[in-house]
Symmetry: C2
Subunit: 327 residues, 2 copies
Amino acid sequence: MHEIDVVGIGNAIVDVLSHADDAFLDKHGLTKGGMMLIDDDQARSLYAAMGPGVEISGGSAANTMAGIAALGARAAFIGKVRDDQLGEVFAHDIRSIGVSFMTPPALEGASTGRCLILVTPDAQRTMNTFLGAGVGLTPEDINPDVIQAAQVTYLEGYLWDPENAKNAFRKAVEAAHAGGRKVALSLSDSFCVDRHRDEFRELVEQVDILFANEAEILSLYQVDQFDAALQAVRRANTLAALTRSEKGSVILQGDEVHVIDAEAGVTLVDTTGAGDLYAAGFLAGYTTGRTLPECGRMGSIAAAEAISHMGARPQADLKALVAAKLG
Amino acid sequence: MHEIDVVGIGNAIVDVLSHADDAFLDKHGLTKGGMMLIDDDQARSLYAAMGPGVEISGGSAANTMAGIAALGARAAFIGKVRDDQLGEVFAHDIRSIGVSFMTPPALEGASTGRCLILVTPDAQRTMNTFLGAGVGLTPEDINPDVIQAAQVTYLEGYLWDPENAKNAFRKAVEAAHAGGRKVALSLSDSFCVDRHRDEFRELVEQVDILFANEAEILSLYQVDQFDAALQAVRRANTLAALTRSEKGSVILQGDEVHVIDAEAGVTLVDTTGAGDLYAAGFLAGYTTGRTLPECGRMGSIAAAEAISHMGARPQADLKALVAAKLG
């Protein structure tokens, strides 16, 4: 087994991005900035109502792995597609950027997952996800040798919905820790936190690295001030990176606390992938021996690139951007 | 001696506020957002060129004491005016809001200090200060009984310019510590920090509570990232409140770190006094036994009130505002 820096486990999704106004969101009962799970029928009808779209391979953890590869670190991805056209697109895209992807496609059942993303003029994205084949991820898809070859196993909170995927998640955590490796978790979404608050609070104590944005961490601890959430995370005693959009991020580990600014002078086009790419920058730094403030700045740089264009995956040379700013 | 919560020592200044555009600043060689010391002649010519002004008693530490009194805590002020009309205005104003002010006016020498403040359309303030009689503060004006009656002695960095005032400053620090009391210091201004960097670094280690804004703390430690300054302050092992304008503040004490948001939904009119009133809110909380995050929120609330109108001193009922938000 080749050494891997980070292996991501998550939903294999193709994003369909389209511009929309607030009236469109209201008409279809969508909550701006959130992620809603939809079924095959809803996906069809919403897709029909949307304007012309751009299709780009996505998925939260998959985006993070794409960012890590773009930063020059070694990434692998585990996630389920169907043996259909979108599944081929997903597999092609992620492999073409140097991410190892070996999960066999499902030969039956739901088609490859897709996320219908509506980007409003304020650059907010509202996501409607049909998980499709992604739900079919099972413990059998988790190869402990791959997990133990990776410095960090990265899990998206979205995976915590289907029961099979939860078990895959648990198997991965056990394999990583048995091999003396680290586990990172992204809370993914505040609605996701609402659904699984108690389980997520327990999980946070078990993982080694936590990623959460402000809405997620406030929801996790049911507080209304960021500082109150910050103090709760400190008590959980996990390395944590809390992202705050234009306010930057706060990184905690034991007694260390770092307050990292967002990159200045960025033109906001589409916030899709900001959190995924922050995690990519952070983990690419972490697995290559950077200090925590450097990891945070790498997160800021990668997130700034992600929000400056439509779609989550990097379009600029992230490695060169980081080299120019941090050396 | 009655028990005092905070005694402030600083320049006794009357502010003259006027609106101006960027062209006016350029024409008069003024650096936006900064504080420049001017002499009597410069004060006269700049005052003649300014548009119609509003005169309000000011002075950094004096503003802070006004805020503390408005919050219901007991404040006193030590600072030097001349026995002239502006000196009477200053003394009347500060006493009328309940701040004890007993420093005798100078009977000769320069007239009462004034600060010509130009507020640009972006709500930034550019300050041109004629210290006048304020420079005449000497160790004789420091009554150790008053210092030792106060829980906290609050010093503005601006005082560190005239040699006599420096000695007054040192006498106050010694008296406070001899009485087992706390000393707080506000760095006041990044140009002020530039002039006295080495002395200020030593002072920071001697004081118990430090207030600084982002420009000041970056200048003090000659770094360009906020987090680097934050780590330097942690090593200094002082209780510190670092203010960051719309990014809120960060409070440090030993292992404790709190990230406090600015108040939301504030209409920015004039930033004059934001830092002074943050310190007022913080110290009013600190001396009445509030937790550090509560002290920070009281600072945010008082600063938000200050920036919502022209001039530094509170116009709304700060005590009621804090009671409504924090209880």
